[in-house]
C-alpha cells in the first residue's frame, strides 16, 4: 500500500544504540502500522466525538516520519516508545491549549454512538446480533461487566462464580462472537 502523503525516501537508516549497528527502518511500514495505534490513542484521550482527533493523529504521524528522516530517532528506545512519547506530548499540548480556551479539560473518552459512522454502526449491529445468539450464561456476564460496568469481583459475586471465571467467560464469549461473525 503506497501512501501518497509519504515523500521519498521510503526508508531511513538509524544507528541502533543498543546493538551498535545500523538498522533500516521502512517508513511506509511504520506509517501503516502506527497510524491506527496513534489514532486509537488520540481518540481515547480526546474523545471520539472530538472533531480534531483525525487532524491531531495525522499531525502526529507526519511529525514522526519527519523526525525519523531527520535522524532524531537514535535507537535508544524502541520505535514504539519513540512514537508513544511524541503522541503523548502532542495530546498534552492539545489539552493545555484547549484548557486555556475552555477553562476545563475534555472529558475522558466515552463509548460512542457510532450513528454517524456507517461502517462502525454496521459492525456494532453485527456484533449485537451475535451477542443475542450467545448462550445466556455468556450474555449475562457481558451485560453485567460491560453494560452495567460492574467490577469483575462484583460480577463474580452476583453469579456465584470466581472472578477468574468471569474473565474466562468474557474471553470465551469474544472467541465465540468472532466465530459467529466470521460465518
Amino acid at each position: 500500500m503506497k501512501n501518497p502523503n509519504l515523500p521519498t525516501p521510503a526508508s531511513v537508516y538509524i544507528m541502533n544504540a543498543a546493538m551498535g549497528n545500523e538498522k533500516k527502518l521502512d517508513l511506509e511500514q511504520i506509517y501503516v502500522k502506527y497510524r491506527s495505534i496513534v489514532c486509537f490513542r488520540v481518540k481515547k484521550s480526546l474523545g471520539v466525538y472530538n472533531p480534531d482527533c483525525d487532524d491531531i493523529a495525522n499531525e502526529i504521524i507526519t511529525n514522526v516520519i519527519e523526525k525519523l528522516k531527520r535522524g532524531e530517532f537514535r535507537g535508544e528506545s524502541s520505535i514504539g516508545t519513540f512514537i508513544y512519547t511524541i503522541t503523548s506530548r502532542r495530546i498534552i499540548d492539545y489539552i493545555r491549549k484547549k484548557s486555556k480556551v475552555l477553562k476545563h479539560v475534555p472529558e475522558p473518552a466515552s463509548y460512542p454512538d457510532p450513528h454517524e459512522q456507517v461502517e462502525n454502526k454496521e459492525r456494532a449491529e453485527t456484533i449485537a446480533g451475535a451477542i443475542k445468539r450467545l448462550n445466556p450464561k455468556y450474555r449475562e456476564v457481558l451485560y453485567l461487566y460491560y453494560y452495567k460496568e460492574l467490577s469483575r469481583e462484583e460480577v463474580a459475586q452476583k453469579l456465584g462464580i470466581s472472578p477468574r471465571r468471569v474473565s474466562e467467560r468474557v474471553n470465551y464469549s469474544q472467541k465465540l462472537l468472532k466465530k459467529m461473525i466470521r460465518k
Binding site: Y84, A128, P136
Partner: protein, 217 residues
C-alpha cells in the same frame, strides 16, 4: 501461544479504570505490542456494540438484575472450565488405574485359618502330575504337600463321575492295577485332591485338573 502479561489491563484501560501510572505504562506497552493492540481493538468493538445496542441486546435478560441463585451443582461446575474438567477427569482416571494396578500387585495371599499347629486352612494344593497329556496310563498321582500332618483324599473323575477315591498321608498315591485297567487310552479324565486336618476338618481343595491318555504310537 502464551498470553502477554499486559492483556489483563485491556478491559480496565478501555473502561477507564486504570490509575494514571498504570494507564501510561499500558499505553506505552500497546505502542510496542501488536498482539495487545489487536486484542484491545477487538475488545473495544465489543464494548462499543454493547454500549450502543445494549438496551436492545439485553431487553429480555431475565435474571440479570437479581443476584443469581445458582444451584450448588452449577457452582461446582462453574468453578472450572469444561477443558479443565476434562483434564481433571483424565487425571482421576489415570490415578484410579494406577491405584487399582498397585492394589492388584499388592494383593495379599488367600486368607489362612489356623486349625491347630499343623493344619492350616486356606493353603493351596498344587497338583504335580499327571496333567494335560500323558503317553501311558499313569501309575502314580503326585501333588505338593500341605503341612506335616494333613491327610489327603484323591478323587479321580471320569466325565464328572467319581471313578475312584483314596485317602493318604503322603503327597502321592500309587494307582491300584484294577483301577489302572479302567483308564482307557485316548480318553480324558480329571483328578482333584482335598486336604483334611488330623481331626477330619477340610482345610483345602485343589483345582480339578484334566489329563488325557494319548493313544500308543
Amino acid at each position: 501461544m502464551r498470553n502477554c502479561k499486559f492483556e489483563g489491563n485491556i478491559d480496565e484501560y478501555l473502561m477507564n479504570r486504570l490509575t494514571d501510572d498504570k494507564k501510561n505504562e499500558f499505553e506505552e506497552h500497546y505502542f510496542n505490542c501488536s498482539s495487545c493492540f489487536e486484542k484491545m481493538v477487538e475488545r473495544d468493538e465489543l464494548i462499543t456494540a454493547i454500549k450502543y445496542k445494549g438496551q436492545e441486546i439485553f431487553k429480555d435478560e431475565p435474571a440479570t438484575e437479581a443476584v443469581k441463585g445458582e444451584t450448588s451443582w452449577g457452582k461446582i461446575m462453574a468453578f472450572l472450565t469444561p477443558k479443565q474438567w476434562a483434564t481433571v477427569a483424565v487425571s482421576a482416571t489415570l490415578i484410579a488405574v494406577l491405584v487399582f494396578s498397585g492394589l492388584l500387585m499388592l494383593k495379599p495371599p488367600s486368607p489362612q485359618f489356623f486349625i491347630n499347629e499343623d493344619a492350616v486352612r486356606g493353603g493351596k494344593i498344587t497338583l504335580i502330575s499327571p496333567i494335560f497329556e500323558v503317553q501311558t496310563v499313569p501309575s502314580q498321582f503326585e501333588w505338593q504337600r500341605l503341612g506335616e500332618n494333613a491327610e489327603y483324599r484323591i478323587y479321580i473323575y471320569d466325565n464328572g463321575d467319581t471313578l475312584w477315591q483314596k485317602t493318604t498321608k503322603d503327597n502321592f498315591i500309587v494307582l491300584p492295577e484294577n483301577i489302572k485297567k479302567t483308564l482307557a487310552s485316548g480318553e480324558k479324565y480329571s483328578w482333584q485332591v482335598k486336604a483334611f486336618s488330623p481331626e477330619g476338618a477340610l482345610i483345602s481343595v485343589s483345582s480339578r485338573v484334566q489329563f488325557k491318555i494319548n493313544h500308543p504310537e
